[in-house]
Symmetry: C2
Subunit: 485 residues, 2 copies
């Protein structure tokens, strides 16, 4: 019989070469330009327009990886990557994910791999304890948690559960009616706006509440907006508080928002996508003060806890609302365990039906590092970021644009927006480091997020030198040739 499958011997050989390839990549990662320097279409044009009819060797494929794919990689795992929020990873995570790929189980139901469900439940209970979340978020109470792909999906799930709870599960049946209102701050991540659109709420029914001088939600404005909507005959149902906004790491006042949520019976969701990780350290746990008011909470170990993408942890205080919102049980998925009511079927906890064994990588990471190891490296990132913030404070040319409570520093050169934009582009175009921007009160703002696994003080110190030198260079260019600007 013919057989095109990779033989077990070939898999062993190629697999070990791939492990070496990855280890070599990390050994040499600082040689690459961090931000890929290719032009649109440059990668695609090198790939054949049609698929091969006959089998090709792994040698051919890896040769193309090296020559075609690698120049088009922006190196998220480079210690010189300071852009966006990170998506960091680690050895144990890669190995846990490899095991997941190898086992190839699909954990939509408890029965389709009990370990996939039960390890996930256990590890998320661990995390609830490490983060000192209230008992209500644990599987041993009325709540529980699930691994979702991203904070976007978690926010959508929270919004849907809120919608159904508020409308007595009637929106699922009759559809939305354009009268539910959700609240976020002007700094809340765009994923909530996207979720509001997806869920049929409508962007017109999303209120962007103003922020204080620290870019945190103003609860006086929140309450005023709610009262205004009630007067107009609308139905307030959902508020998202953020712990660590994407722009500046601002932290909304959870307890105050929580009290308003209780008063007006809103579902309170907390998005702590990156910064939630800091709360594993006792000295930063204060950022979650007020989480006891929340109906749901999510953070991403795939951002800042050495667990590779995708791994969002989504906690709910009352799992029955979430399950009732998202459950569908066709005949072909019925089984004894489900009918017994004694198991979780995680496909009822999110949008998708199918799911891979993602808790393995999280379990590997927590066990490899231990809680103390995780804390140590998070503390280090924050310590280094604070050092960088100190350099900015002392600098004559640069200034801080927002408070830097944790590992994100927002700053700008005093020469104004156009200068900062050019500075960012010039540095990124040279590939020695990669950072990105935001706009705060019309100020074009540079962001340094310090969170890649292997980033040390030396990398950040080198980055600071690059930023200062390039700014000088740019000033000279401006001075020598002001017209061309």
């Amino acid at each position: 019989m013919k057989n095109y499958h990779m033989s077990p011997e070939e898999f062993r050989k190629q697999g070990k070469q791939m492990i070496d390839w990855i280890a070599d990549y990390y050994d040499t990662i600082e040689k690459y330009p961090v931000l890929s320097q290719v032009k649109p279409g440059e990668i695609k044009d090198q790939l054949p327009a049609t698929a091969p009819m006959e089998s090709e060797s792994m040698e051919q494929i890896m040769s193309d990886v090296n020559s075609i794919i690698m120049p088009g990689i922006t190196h998220w795992q480079s210690p010189d990557f300071f852009a966006y929020f990170p998506a960091n990873t680690s050895g144990p995570s890669i190995l846990g994910d490899l095991l997941s790929s190898g086992l190839g189980v699909q954990g939509m139901l408890w029965a389709t791999s009990p370990s996939c469900t039960e390890l996930e439940t256990r590890v998320l209970d661990w995390l609830a304890d490490i983060l000192q979340l209230p008992e209500k978020f644990k599987s041993t109470s009325a709540g529980g948690a699930v691994i979702q792909d991203t904070a976007s999906s978690a926010a959508l799930s929270a919004l849907l559960a809120a919608r159904e709870r508020k409308t007595n599960y009637e929106s699922n049946e009759a559809g939305c009616m354009g009268n539910l209102v959700a609240y976020v701050s002007s700094q809340t991540h765009s994923s909530v706006e996207k979720a509001v659109k997806i869920a049929g709420i409508g962007k017109n029914n999303l209120r962007l509440i103003g922020v204080d001088e620290n870019l945190a939600m103003r609860t006086d404005l929140l309450e005023a907006a709610i009262q205004n909507d009630l007067k107009a005959g609308l139905i307030p149902f959902f508020v998202c508080a953020t712990v660590g906004t994407t722009s500046t790491n601002a932290i909304d006042p959870l307890a105050e928002i929580g009290e308003i949520s209780q008063k007006y019976q809103l579902w309170m969701h907390i998005d702590a996508a990156m910064s939630g990780t800091a709360a594993i350290c006792p000295e930063y746990r204060f950022i979650l003060n007020g989480v006891e008011y929340a109906d749901s909470f999510s953070f991403n170990p795939h951002k800042w806890m050495f667990t590779n993408f995708d791994c969002n942890c989504f906690f709910v205080a009352d799992r029955s609302v979430l399950i009732k919102t998202l459950s569908i049980l066709p005949e072909y998925l019925k089984n004894q365990a489900t009918e017994s009511g004694s198991v979780f079927d995680y496909r009822d906890w999110h949008i998708q039906l199918g799911r891979r064994f993602r808790s393995l990588k999280l379990w590997f990471v927590i066990r490899h590092y231990g809680v103390n190891g995780l804390r140590y490296h998070i503390q280090e990132h924050i310590r280094i970021a604070q050092q960088f913030a100190g350099w900015i404070r002392e600098s004559a040319d640069f200034k801080l644009i927002a408070p830097a409570p944790l590992n994100l520093v927002c700053f700008a050169h005093r020469n104004g927006n156009e200068f900062n934009r050019k500075l960012l582009e010039l540095i990124n175009s040279r590939g020695k480091m990669y950072f990105t921007h935001t706009v705060i009160r019309d100020q074009f703002t540079l962001r340094m997020c310090i969170a890649q696994t292997n980033t040390t003080l030396e990398h950040v110190s080198k980055a600071w030198q690059t930023i200062q030198e390039t700014a000088k260079e740019l000033e000279n260019m401006f001075n020598n040739n002001p017209k061309s600007e």
Copy 2:
């Protein structure tokens, strides 16, 4: 400086051991009970209630994998797995996924790794050609494709794009108004009902159209339902046609549904989650006849094309509608490439913002097998399934319950529903094979889906023997002790 990270040397050592572990697993996979035999709570109870404070070794972790996790695995990659739809995988896919984990890039924007976007676009254009999809679904026309996690998410994305096109993008702004109507057959996958709820359409506005004797959608009933809804002042906007329903692999009449969609200006989505793969073989391409009418089409290489979960390919005829529906552009994601309009930013093509480099595994699979290799193994699966269907046809005790056009065979013992239910439970509880059921016109129906990568005629022949022998055994039990039943 302290450092809890896994050293490069340790990663090389542990990584190679993991490769060997996976190869050993596939070498011995037939020794395990296919369906895990553990009871609810049995896995969780063996895992410590709290996370370790100190670092643990990979040896400790892998020891727990072997002793605690493995008994709770249902072996989706066993050649004796015939349940649900498959989630098959292969050596090149595991290696492509490993490379993706190692690179750890997050491809939300073109700029955040151009290769992640451009390889995906290219490989999906390949697939459009291999499946002989119309030109409109290729990136070189007004359409294009994206890798989503699952067919559920693809169906939701299609439904949202349909909703916005029909309401002039007003639902995104004002919210849903409870007057849009979607159409599926009574056999359509539950994911569309879930999507209808999520999108604020409401289950009351989902029409389950009756089916013909082959369990395919009856288009006379579809048209009557549309006319009825129009008369009631409602707005028909979406129809989902299925190529290979989950229950029985029924194939809806695409061209007829397409003509009705055009007549009434409905968005036509085709869900070909598993069976779409068969269309890569010229002799089975007929199952997609009529795809030229569709606005969107999706199928899952992670089901039946040797690419590990998750990998759904979602094609749209007019990408601008999808992008306009799902696009959000906050300041912190703005960049030159996006502003130039010359690139795809795939985060605008699906629900999530973040995304991993999933096209690598698909590219590895297509190149490793070549189109001819893929065709060969798909043809083999269908050939074996047809042989099994033949045995059922010739059997005095069993009968076919639905047509078996491809690789799924629906059958039942003539002894009635309770007997079939017990037969299924008894066989699955013994672990030699795993298959599942559906209910067709009140008939409890056994399903054999032949699609795992390493399944051969011998495995199916052995399964048939097991089924026959266990049925005899059960008949004897019934006859000897009829009262206890």
